[in-house]
Symmetry: D2
């Protein structure tokens, strides 16, 4: 057993995503050896994060202002909305420099469509603001959970009579035909060019 | 050291694809424990393979006849050719039931476009028979080696003035945006529907 | 679907240890491309294995003679017996050049001590020949199945009043304390030197 | 690009052991969604760690007092010293409840015995306090780096005429003979019992 302040901090770090007790312990020993100025910088940065950064009131992207840099950018196409699961997915799409519309961060996926899961998603917010768009791209991961979520969104948005699209399927770079599933390969054949 | 007949057989099995000396040894002990009728069946099946099966004279698919079942099937679309790297890729595409044209098995990929690698491919055979097609789909794996091979084929076939296409890029089932490269994600956006 | 002779051979190779249908198919295509002399050499080597190699009548090691090279070696210590699970374990121990006694290949492990599993082991043969030894080393893998087998053997051999030992526990080369289980680490402390 | 306070925090978390930029970003988004009381608890715990916890003046174990709970425990055997690489290794050995002596946390390993690496270790401190022990157990991981460190320590401590031991080698639980190196297996044979 470690002294109580160490155990407490191991416990708190263990709640971080991807972190187990063993890694949490390594984090604590790292902090112990850190010069006091550096641990103070870390603390100040956490305080700064919690006070200066909020979620964009439109797309839920972390932002210093009420509207994030994308939502307030006049050059973005206001008729196109891309629904993603989480912040990092938005960043990944931005990096392609291919997409010029707006985003909406859903905040998760549903598994088995349980009421409690759906309530955690920002679905109400999504329905309210979606009416003004010409096309909505559902850019949820094509995993099992993501597929369930995408289907749920399609059903939800269908009555609004907006064009709804999904990301194209195909072979990723480095992929091999031999290990591709039939649906992926069918799409790759359809989308050949 | 094992007795000589065992060492000899370990050595031969070690040349099989994906097999190292340790696995080769396990194969030999498996054969030792096999009832004699079953090892005879194995031997007879290898003899049968080497005497009854040849490569289709058109597409190089293994076949009992001069022309394979696909090449001799009157219902297949004779204006469409799909170039694949190896037999199992052809089977994978067939399983999708999406493709109704003919095939050509290239027999490998080129790496670094060395003369000796290119000579191992059935490129001469390909050029001769390709003239009668309307579209050639290059269905080589989008790996580094496969890309080099596909580029080489595109350059080779361009002067023939046939439509040349490549399999579509996109997110495979189970894939995640976060780990997708930019080109794959760009294609997935382009091919949305 | 492949032509029948190919399907038959894929089926036979799929029964080889560690081989699934996909790898079995690659084996068949490898054989197809093999020059006929080389596939004949393979067949001859299998025939030679099945006719020339038998199991040593004492230790069950594959051998060209009734007694294998180890069992018939006058310089080996006939008072020491090492029980191993399979042929490759015997070879691994021989490579250390540390052990000068005889071996007994058990031919497998028991899981859950079911009657049918125990009957597959060469337990009867083991009991008969074991009486003349001073020490029996149970060198079964310290996996869950191996442990069950070792316990079973210990119970079986105890009434014979022979010294029974097990391989020492400890940290393997490249191992890390952090990931070692308590029993392994306790043994490593006990066996320090 | 994320807002500056986020980028700054991603950068700080990226320096944590085992954390890359992608995981660091997930940590930041986790903190953003954390209720303010919980992020305050985290900050207070870090402050508590940095103010209340120091390194034991004898063994360098994190401790609330000048001497840690082990070093100040009168029931521990003061003639036995166990040198470990890091805090978690000490905890792992404590969990076995097998060892009743004292510890010394070296604080790392040397690679290639470069001056600058050795200076980072607490070698000077070790030499000073070691004279009163009857046995010193070098419990450094048997990895390549660990071996180099252990050899270095052995040379360093030899002139002091104290019994120096190393953790025993052998098969770990779950290990398999087939994959064991020769030295490990030799030790397992030597340490049989």
């Amino acid at each position: 057993m470690y002294p109580l302040p160490i155990e407490k901090l191991i416990n708190l770090f263990s709640k971080f995503p991807t972190v187990g007790p063993r890694t949490a312990a390594r984090f604590v020993f790292y902090l112990m050896k850190l010069p006091i100025e550096e641990s103070n910088t870390l603390i100040e940065s956490i305080v700064e994060l919690k006070t200066k950064i909020k979620f964009c009131s439109f797309c839920f992207k972390p932002s210093e202002n009420d509207l994030c840099d994308i939502c307030s950018d006049p050059s973005r196409d206001k008729s196109l909305l891309c629904i993603v699961e989480k912040e990092t997915d938005l960043e990944t799409i931005e990096k392609t420099k291919k997409y010029k519309g707006l985003y909406f961060i859903l905040g998760g996926t549903v598994s088995k469509l349980r009421e409690e899961d759906i309530e955690k998603l920002r679905v109400r917010e999504l329905r309210e603001m979606i009416k003004n768009f010409k096309e909505v791209i559902i850019a949820i991961n094509p995993t099992t959970e993501g597929e369930a979520t995408a289907l749920y969104l399609e059903r939800l948005l269908k009555p609004l009579n907006i064009k709804i699209t999904r990301l194209g399927r195909g072979l990723p770079i480095g992929g091999e035909l031999e290990y591709a599933d039939e649906e992926t390969l069918s799409s790759a054949l359809d989308n050949r060019k």
